[in-house]
Every structure is written in C-alpha cells, then in structure tokens.
Amino acid sequence: MADPTCEEDSPRPGDVAALLESSRVNSPAAGAGYMAGAMVILVLASLYAASRPEPAWVMLRGAAAMGMLGLLLLMAHRTWLATRGVRRERERLVAIEELLQLRRWPEAAAMLDETLSRPMRTPQGRAQALIYLGSVLSRYHRFADAAAVYEHLLETEPMDEPSAHALRLGRAMAMLRDDRLYDADRAISELRRSPQVPQSGGLALLEIYRDVKTGHPQEAVELFEQKLAVMRQQLGVRVGDAHVLAARAYDLLGRGDQAASHYLDATTLCPLEELRRRYPEVAALEGRYPPAARPAEVQP
C-alpha cells in the first residue's frame, strides 16, 4: 500500500526478493583449498629435492622456499583484505543506523540498496542490514515487503531470543499496518508465548494498536494503564505513540478529558505529523483536542 503523504519519493529500496538473494554471504573458505594444495605440493617438491645432491635440485629447494614464503605473504594479504572488508562493512552499517536514527530515509534506503546488492561479508552484518531494510520499508509503507524481510530473517538466521522477539514485533506491526488482521493476530499470539512477554513494552504497544484498530477501546485503555511503566522504560520518546493511541481509545469511549490529556502528552513527546504518519487512525483527534505548543527555542 503506497502512502500518498510520503514526502520522500526517491530513492527507495529495490526489489526485496532480489536484495535477499544478492546479499547472501559468500563462503570465506573459497580459495583456501587451493592454498593448502599449493603448500603441500611445495613441501613434497622440497622433500624430493632434499634427497638429490645435484646443484639443480638445491636450486629447486631454494625456489620452493621462496614459493612458500610467497604463499604465506599471500595468505597474510588475503587476511588483511578480508579484515578490511569486514571493517568497511561494519562502518557502512553504523552509517546506515545513524541515517535511520536521524530520519534521513532516502539516504538510508540508497545505502541499503547498494550494500545489499552484493554478497555481504558476515551473516551478522547481513542480518543487521536486513533489519534496517525492514525499518525503511515500513517507513515507505511497504508493509508486505517489510513483513517478508522479517519472516526471512526469522526463518534463516539463528539469533538470540530478544532479537527474535524484536523481529516478531516488527513483523506483527507490519502485518497490522497492512490490514492483515488475521495474520497479525496469529503473530501476536506467537509473541505472547515468548519468554520476553512480561517485560515487553513493544508488545504492549502493538496490542494497544490492534485494539484501537479493531474497535476495542476498553481493552486498549486497560492495557495502557497496566503497561505504561514498562513502555515508558523501554520505548523512550516513542512512549508518545502509546499516549496518542490511548487518547484515541479514550476518545472512542467518550472520555474527552482523558483523551485531551493523553493527546497533550503525546504531542509533547512527538510531532503531530509523525504520530499521524505512524497511526492514520489518530487523525480523527486533530482539531478536537489541542496539541502541545512547542516553545520558540525548539521550533524547527
């Protein structure tokens, strides 16, 4: 589903299936077999030459030693190249992460496109890049693609439970935004079985959004009141998302005072346009409740 309000028109990440394929990590052992073979041949040649006293064979031993030295230097050079490649890849990933944090989406998309369109150096780096790709795709409202990326990571990459939980959250949110309510509900049920559940602010936010989206404001309000502390601790300024969804839920329940209070808190933490972009459902609150005024010193 394309977002007509998305101001960052280009460049956008390319074909997701192609990027998943092209970014696969090449085996680092490629070529090592040839090196080992050459080493064995040189040793055997040298041993054979050692049994011959003629000057020509002595020279061959010298040549074999030089060859072995060359081989060792070549190995050292390959190691250096590989290390430099890994370091550059890591630097690129740091740069992409910074662009995402600074909300410079088109530049992040372009860098991800370039990074993922050739084999990556390490599986960890690839997983990281794909997680960033999921974020960018969600930003461009390509929720089906984002869910596919998260699905691919969950199926193919071994990862620790907190990382898997974060990916499942991303996948479920993408499904919810894509109006795949049945799939999202199944994904949420799967999330609830995770050992991270009691402390997960992300899951609480996801469930509140589902309840608001599916017209269950009472459940949304109850969950918000119950989980506000953990969401505040884990989500940082994104706890503003929970406040704006709570405002919408209170509004649906006809509790205007509480809706106004949470709308004020939400807009104290996050710009209104950003909240509207993330949750189109809260656009209904605009004009009915006053947003927080930003002081002149922090006006853009």
């Binding site: 080493m39 040189l42 040793v43 040649a45 040298s46 041993l47 050692a50 006293p53 002595v58 031993r61 010298g62 074999a64 030693a65 030089m66 060859g67 072995m68 030295l69 081989l71 060792l72 190995m75 290390t83 740091v94 992460e97 910074e98 944090q101 600074l102 620790d160 907190p162 505040r232 601790q233 884990q234 989500l235 940082g236 300024v237 706890v239 503003g240 406040h243 808190d265 104290t268 933490l269 927080a292 930003r294 002081p295 002149a296 010193e297 922090v298 006006q299 853009p300």
Partner: protein, 264 residues
Amino acid sequence: MRAEKAIARARRDLLVSTILKSALIGGAALAVVSSASVNIDGTLVLAAVGIAWFVLSYRSVRGSRMAAGSPLLIASGDYEQAEMQIEAALRSFSLFRTVKLLSLHHLAVLRHAQQRWHEAAMLSRAVLGQRLGPLRELSRPSQLILAEALLELGDLQGTYAALCRLYQERLTLAEALTLLGIELDYLARLGDWERMLQGTRQKVQLAELMPTAASAQAQGLLALAAVRSGRAELARWLRRRAELLAEPSELCRRRPALAALWSA
C-alpha cells in the same frame, strides 16, 4: 578480576605475544636465508612457521569470539556472565594485541555499567596508554568512559581534559549522544546555564535519540538550565517531557540538583 590484576596480565601477555611474533617472523626470515644450505630445509621450516602461525591465530580467534560476546551480555544486564567471558578472554593466549586490548576495554565497559567508577577510569587509562593500531577507534569510547567516570568521581579537571580530547575527534552519532549527556552533566555542576542552552533545539533532538533514562536526565538538566535562565515556557515543556519519560523521584535520586525542578 580486579582492574590492577587485569591490566598487569594484559601487559604481560602483550609482551609475550610480541616476542612470539618476532620469533616466528625471525624463524621465517632465517629459513629463507638458509634455503640454499644443504643442512636446513627452508621450505619445511617455513611450512612449520605457517602452521604454527595458523594454529596460534585460530586460538586467538577463539579468544576474540569470547571477547566479542561480552558487550551484548553487559547490555542485557548479565554482568556475572560478562565478567566470566572477559576473564576467560584475558586469560587465554592470543597472538594478536587486539584481543587483549579489546578485552581490557570490555572490562572497562563492564565496570562503567556496574558504576565502579574508579576501576572504569583506571582501565580506560590503561587502554588509552597502549598503542592501539587497528583498534584506534577504541580511543573514543575509552575517552567517553574515562570522562564519565571522572565526572562521577568529582574530578572536574580530569573530565574537562577528556572532553577537550573528544571535541577534537570525529564522533559517531552514538558517541555524540553519550558526549552530550556527559557535557550537560558537567556544565550543570559548573552552573554554566547559558552554555547548556546553546543550540537547545539540536540538543533536544539528540536527547530524543538517547536511551530512556539518559534522555530523561538530559532533558531534566536542560529544564534546570532553562529555570535558572528565566525561560519559564521552555522549562515547563522540558520538565514535562522528562516526567513523561521517567519518575521525578528516580531522576532526583540520580541527580539531586534536579529536585529544584519539582520543589517550586
């Protein structure tokens, strides 16, 4: 493991690995020089050196992997497991300086997370005192740990010196965020409110990217500066943002000066 012991052990191991590397390189050079001789088979010696290098490198990689796991454990709060991994990495043999220096740095990160400021400062100084080579990017996080540890220890002069060194570096965004937190804390202790409010908009934007507790503290300190500078509207807005991110009692417990925000 005590910081002094870890530093002494790392220094000793760095010396041993340097000697061993020199011996291997010397052996290889000797093999090439003597390859023409009938008595010594240079190829075999070189192969032996190559195999020894490979085996020792493999052992070093194992140590490196042990060291690599600890930041994640520290981030998840599993300090005991992190301590065990770092200790194992420090005790294991490594041919490369990077493994030892990285382990020492991780120990500094752990002590910083545990708020054992004196040890964190000592370890960071030890890392910064070494020739970092390919690990030169470690110097910035080490300086940041040192600056924060010295600030917590009340050494404002030492903090200032560390901050000055950091201002000359090109920082990553994550490092810039940490630096901003330390700088605000430092300036608040000096009572330099006007300087704290220079570039308020950018500082607030950066504070939004920090982890929750650091973000609440940074915005609380900016609110305090706004109160002291008589900018009431800005102070109210920043104080409310800090309240929405953390309990005021928790903020005041960490930085008692912030109590002034809620006492009026």
